[in-house]
Structure formats: C-alpha cells, structure tokens
C-alpha cells in the first residue's frame, strides 16, 4: 500500500510517503505557521523523492484534530480533496494519538497535550498496547488544572509529550510529582511516518464529503447561540442556490 501522511495540526508540520511498512520519504518542520504555503511543496518533494505520481497513492492519512483550527483545515482540506479528486481512501487519525505513538514502551501511559490558550489544553490519555496508542481518556478540551487532577488519579508513571507541555509543566508536576515523565525533545514533534503507520491499518472514512476536522470545540458564536436557542434549529445552514 502506497500512502501519504500529513500532519499540520499545530506549529510543527510533518509529511511522509510510505510503501507498506517502509517510510520512503519524510519531512518535519517546526518553524512557523505558514502551512498553507509550505505544505503542498513539501508533499510534492516527498512524492518525487519517493518516485511516485499522485495517482500511485492508495490512501491518504491525515491528523484530523484536535489542534489549531486553521492548521487542521489546511491539512484536512488538502488530504480530503486529494483523496476525493483521485478517488483514493482517506483515513483520519487523532492528532493527539499520532503524537502519543512516538512512545514505543509497551504498557506505558502517555499524555499528549496541545496548548488551547488561557490555561486550557487539548489533551488525551493513551496506553501503548501492541505498539499502538489505545485511548484511556478520550481527547478533550479541558482546563489544565482539571486535566492535572484527572491524570493524578492514575497511580503509575505518565509520559507527558508535546512541545506545549513545557508551558504547563509546573501545575502538572504539582499534581503528578515523580510520576510525571517528560518525553525526550525528539519525541515532542509529531512524525508523519508514525501517523502513516497508524493509518495503514485503520478503517478509511465511509463518507468522504462529510469528513471534517475534529475541532473538539464549537465556535464561540455557535456556543452562545445554542445557549440562547436550546430548542430552535433553523438548519439546513448551507443551501445550494
């Protein structure tokens, strides 16, 4: 199976081309948020280096969220449109799970985390089982204080992973003490090669048109509107004219 994997969920950007279990080409950057400009050139280069034409691909795997809304939309629009236009399979993988999969110690608890600003985070808890991250606490948008308290209920070491962990390391350490293990810096960046391997065995999306990022949050406007209009719903919101 020839596969292209894309992760633009946050500041890091990672792209990989795989043939079955083999990573043919991969690029990861952590230099800025201009993913709209840089993603496709990096994809093109990785494909060329791998000696593949777009039509040679069997499957596109994308980190589907949570993360930066704009970053997610760039990756998901690219992956979704590529899969659609070439009639290929599309797989979405949790951006947090993809990061957790950098850890390979069997049985280890891993807590990937992305900053969601104002002392909030996107976070999940995973256990590495049979070389895959298996969700223990599902991905969520949560205050760092609450998250620290949740993690503290597990009486075993937890690997905290992600470039944003540093920002909240104090409250997390206060809650977890010695059980907090900080991942090595080289593990903090998502690797599309790892994402691709996870995506190889996952089930492709059944309804490609309906595939959207997993934002994990309503927009503020929707949130406020729903609070004021619990019963009303004037969908369809989008109409063909």
């Amino acid at each position: 199976m020839k596969l292209l994997a894309i992760d633009t969920s946050n500041r890091p950007l990672s792209v990989a081309v795989l043939a079955d279990q083999q990573i043919l080409a991969t690029t990861t950057t952590n230099v800025g948020r201009n993913h709209s400009s840089t993603l496709l050139p990096i994809v093109e280069r990785a494909m060329t280096q791998s000696g593949l034409e777009p039509t040679d691909l069997d499957r596109i795997v994308v980190a589907a969220g949570p993360g930066s809304y704009t970053g997610l939309r760039i990756g998901v629009t690219t992956a979704k449109t590529l899969a659609f236009t070439l009639n290929k399979e599309l797989v979405g993988i949790s951006s947090l799970a993809a990061l957790a999969a950098n850890v390979v110690t069997e049985g280890q608890l891993v807590a990937p985390l992305f900053d969601a600003r104002r002392d909030n985070a996107f976070a999940g808890l995973y256990r590495i089982q049979n070389q895959r991250p298996v969700a223990v606490i599902e991905d969520q948008h949560v205050s760092v204080a609450k998250w620290a308290a949740k993690l503290a209920t597990y009486n075993e070491p937890i690997v905290l992973i992600g470039t944003d962990v540093q920002k909240y390391v104090e409250p997390l350490r206060a809650a977890l003490g010695d059980r907090l293990i900080r991942a090595r810096p080289q593990l903090d960046l998502p690797q599309a090669g790892v994402l691709g391997l996870l995506g190889q065995t996952a089930t492709p999306v059944a309804n490609l048109h309906a595939f959207v990022p997993n934002y994990l949050r309503l927009t503020q406007a929707e949130h406020d509107w729903q609070a004021k209009h619990p019963e009303k719903d004037h969908a369809p919101y989008v109409e063909k004219i």
Binding site: N34, S37, R73, V76, T77, K80, K240, I241
Partner: protein, 345 residues
C-alpha cells in the same frame, strides 16, 4: 472546431462555497453555489470561524457537482482557477488549498485570481469587453471605480473612504429589523416607498472620485432613534427609499464625473450591490443620454453575488497570458488592485 479551454474555478472568500466549470472564459457549463447565509443570519453577520467550517464541509461536494453538471471529467480541464484574496483568510484557505491539490493531482496549471477582478468579469458573460472600460464595483466589502485599459489590467480611480455600499445596507438593515444580508430586502422596500427624508449625499459635489457612506448610515440611525424617543413611527418603506435614493445618487453622480474625465467604451456594473434594482434602472435610464458612446454592461443578476463562474472568467484572461501560480500559493486576505498613477489615495 477549435477545442474549448475549460477552467475549473473555485471561490470561497466569504460565505459562499462555489465551484464552476467555464469554457473559454465566457460560457458557463456549471456554477455550483453553496451559500451559508442561513447560518450567519443567526449571528447578524458573517462569523469567520463558522464560515471556514462550512467551507470545508462543502468543498468536495461542490467540486463533484460542478463536474457532474458540466458533464466533464478532469481530463477535459485545461486549468484550475481560485480566489486567493481579498476576503476572510480562513475561508480563502479552504478554496486555495483545495484548488492547489486538484491542480497538483491532475497536472493542471493553477491560476490565482483576485476576487474583485472576478466580480468585474461577471459582466463578461453578457458580452466581450471593449477597452478602455470603467467598472463601478459595489459589494459587501468594496466600493470602487476601476479603470481597465486592457484585459487583466485594473487601476483604482476612486473608492470609499469608510463603509462599502453593501456594508451600509447591511448595517441599516439591522436598524430596520431586516435580517442579514439586508440589501435585497431593502431594495424591495425602497420600491414600495418614497424618498421623503432627504438624507445627505456625502461628497457628491467634491471634485474627486471617492465615496463615503458612514455619514448616511449615521443620519439614518439618528432619524430612527429620534423617532423612537418621541414615540413616532416612521414608514419603513420610505426610510428604505430615502436611504437607497442617497446611495444611488452618490454612486451614479460619481460615475458620471469619472466618465467625463475618462471617456470609455463600456461601463461595467458589478459586485453584490450591482443586483440593486434602483441602481440598475437609474444607470439604464441616465447613461444613454449622458454618455451615448459608453455602453452599459450590467453583471447578470445571478452572477452579482460571489460565485465560481466569475472567477473562471477572470482566470481565463490570466490563462491566456500564462499568469500561473505554484504549489506555494497562499491566501492574501487584503489583496488590492493598484491605484492609477497620479491618483491621490
């Protein structure tokens, strides 16, 4: 028969996701438009993050329908065109990334199109452009007089110093209790009323080609608030008619002023507000006598609002000039035409 050049064109700058197939820049094979108006009505205006989310829900559906309705496949296409600005950055990004991917996947050239050039080229579906040409471009975010010496060349001669015409309609719409976007309904109300309030005609006598609508908006709001305070009820249709009379007077007289100085073969009326009946009728009535040598081209009603077909028409000109973008194309939310040299900005 010479083979036609087919362009797949994308538009996602605001609250419409649209994909079209256009032949030779002037024939619409399909023009699929998914509008989010019903969603943004809830908030009284476009919420950028909500708009971006809707675009990604719609984008592949629109591509599929556009190809199906045009009855073409990717092999029939010659290029992909896309709006890359101006507009809402998050909204633009969906169209830009989708268009880049289609171009890459099918080895097609990519044409980056200015949304405002697209609005002007909506009039190209009526008949070929003849130059020099002047465009009165009136939309939700822009009110401009644009001079064109040739296809694909745009020079701003005058523009609004504050609100755009469409924006003014939408803002006074709120005061009248008309839901977003208010232009069309206010236009209809105006036809049922009379201009009795004599709102100001800002900058109408000034010797320049600029516009201003915020004073009109304030005068309108003050009139309504004052009536509320003294418990008087004003006729909403008369209010709408008076507002519209001011907007149309200013737009038309500034256009006359510009045409006196810049004799052109055609005057194009384009942009969302070009759908305005009062404005269309007034230009149709005045122009032939005032400027018998200038032909009026009104953008077709269906193509005044945002749509992919207009992007395909503008993109075709760039296709002929080989003005292509590459895989690094990004959205440019504040993309602008240049000013005509010598014009004071």
């Amino acid at each position: 028969m010479k083979k036609q050049n087919l362009i797949l064109a994308f538009e996602s700058s605001c609250d419409e996701t649209s994909v079209a197939v256009v032949a030779d820049g002037h024939q619409i094979l399909s023009n699929v438009i998914a509008t989010q108006i019903n969603s943004h009505k809830r908030f009284g205006g476009v919420v950028p993050e909500v708009a971006s989310r809707h675009h990604i829900e719609q984008i592949t559906i629109c591509i599929e329908s556009a190809l199906e309705e045009a009855n073409v496949t990717y092999d029939d296409l010659d290029a992909v065109a896309v709006t890359y600005g101006p507009g809402l950055v998050g909204a633009l990004l969906v169209g830009v990334n989708a268009a880049k991917v289609v171009a890459y996947a099918h080895h097609l050239p990519l044409i980056p199109v200015n949304h405002m050039a697209g609005h002007i080229y909506a009039a190209r579906f009526v008949k070929p452009f003849e130059f020099p040409l002047m465009a009165l471009l009136v939309s939700g975010g822009h009110t401009e007089l644009v001079y064109m010496q040739a296809d694909g060349q745009f020079e701003i001669i005058g523009e609004t110093r504050d609100d755009a015409a469409g924006e003014a309609y939408d803002k006074i719409g709120r005061v009248l209790g008309v839901s977003y976007p208010a232009g069309k309904e206010i236009d209809q109300m105006a036809h049922a009323g009379i201009d009795t309030f004599n709102f100001p005609r800002a900058m109408i006598d000034e010797d320049n080609f600029d516009f201003s609508f915020s004073g009109l908006k304030s005068a309108f709001i003050n009139t309504v608030h004052h009536a509320d305070q003294i418990g008087a009820t004003l006729d909403k249709n008369d209010l709408a008619a008076s507002f519209q009379a001011s907007v149309v007077d200013v737009l038309v007289s500034k256009t006359h002023r510009v045409l006196e100085q810049y004799p052109v073969k055609q005057l194009v009326l384009a942009g969302g507000v070009a759908a305005n009946q009062g404005l269309r009728e007034r230009l149709q009535k005045d122009l032939p006598t005032a400027f018998p040598n200038t032909e009026l081209l009104l953008a077709p009603l269906k193509l005044c609002g945002d749509n992919g077909a207009m992007i395909g028409a503008a993109g075709y000109v760039q296709y002929q000039h080989h003005q292509f973008g590459d895989a690094s194309l990004n959205a440019d939310p504040s993309l602008e035409f240049d000013w005509m040299p010598g014009m004071v900005k």
